[in-house]
Symmetry: C2
Subunit: 212 residues, 2 copies
């Protein structure tokens, strides 16, 4: 099967500082991501610095704030419209702080990926986000942690694993130092790699794409 | 504080082939383990090939078969007698297939270590032993697994972690190939390292030893 010429249209969903978005932008520039192209960055938070990063890179941005919608269903309807307008084929959650409904994730089966800062199935699921993940890992006393990129389904952190990378815990680590190292050594590496991996599959399989 | 001259007396408890025991014997020969000395290998299974490995290395052996005792308490009483006769200060479980009671583990607090073929807290606890651990890891779809050396307390695989090492899962891994690689790349490395680490602490702290 021959590859499509146009790269897979990617939306990155963000809520905050956007360091994972930056890793994706850098990976696109350096050619690590070549089968996909970030066409839009969507934030639920108008203050997110990630929006600035997108603008600096010349990528379209859009704010869809949950507060402005009566229900999650209304919010997600607006999200779907925006994604369809941009012909989005792959959604990357990069520090996006809202949980998407099963209705939404089933529309985009095998088309939404997320990065989680632990080696799933350790320290994941409801309540495990941000610094809390690293606090839990240190409190448990693990000597190895890491990050996971996985597909998103209706179960928090429950979708199929795409890539994982291990990071050693140091004796003097705090949740903050561990978070930083997991980002640098794992998240910022495997999120772009997974993005390229899935983009490539989509571009080769076209409409009939189903991740195997 | 000066170190004691005599090495810490180690007992290795086995049930089967004894490849982890072999790693310990080799590490003792090569000087990786220098603060401890394997003084006895105890098997609950008279047929264990581990006994032969011990004999080949000139280490005393002892069979304490559960079947010959009316109760777990009787079995463990005999075990304690044997350990005391040898002045054992550190117990290493190397594929020992019996669960020790809380009574036993509390006598030897911070003095029993075990190796488990996953990155705890993933794929551990009751029912997770041997090939089942790797079957569970592959079935879950993790891309990184590994091994853990931990202290043994009354909770299966619940004691404090001493060392962990990550091992990458390959796309074509079977439970058997993964088990072999986890042994070779992780278990046979970190079990001797942890054994030396704990032996050193015991030898430096003496009677008042408590693992910090």
């Amino acid at each position: 099967m021959s590859e499509k010429i146009s790269p897979v249209s990617i939306a990155v969903l963000v809520s905050g500082g956007g360091t994972n978005l930056q890793a994706l932008i850098d990976a696109q520039k350096s050619g690590i991501i070549k089968h996909g192209k970030i066409n839009i960055v969507i934030s639920n938070n108008p203050e997110a610095y990630a929006l600035k990063r997108a603008e600096n890179a010349g990528i379209d941005t859009c704010v869809i704030s949950g507060k402005e919608y009566k229900s999650k269903a209304e919010f997600e309807k607006r999200l779907v419209e925006t994604l369809e307008n941009k012909g989005v084929e792959l959604i990357v959650l990069a520090g996006f702080m809202r949980i998407l409904s099963g209705d939404f994730t089933s529309i985009y089966k095998d088309r939404i990926i997320n990065v989680h800062p632990s080696l799933i199935p350790s320290f994941c699921g409801e309540g495990f986000y941000g610094l809390r993940v690293h606090e839990a890992a240190l409190s448990y006393g693990v000597k190895v942690t890491g990050a996971t990129v996985h597909f998103v389904n209706e179960i928090p952190d429950g979708g199929r694993i795409i890539l994982q990378r291990a990071v050693n815990v140091r004796d003097n680590d705090t949740p903050e130092t561990l978070q930083q190292r997991v980002m640098r050594e794992a998240e910022w590496q495997i999120l772009p790699e997974a993005c390229e991996l899935v983009s490539k599959k989509i571009s080769m399989m076209g409409e009939g794409y189903e991740y195997i």
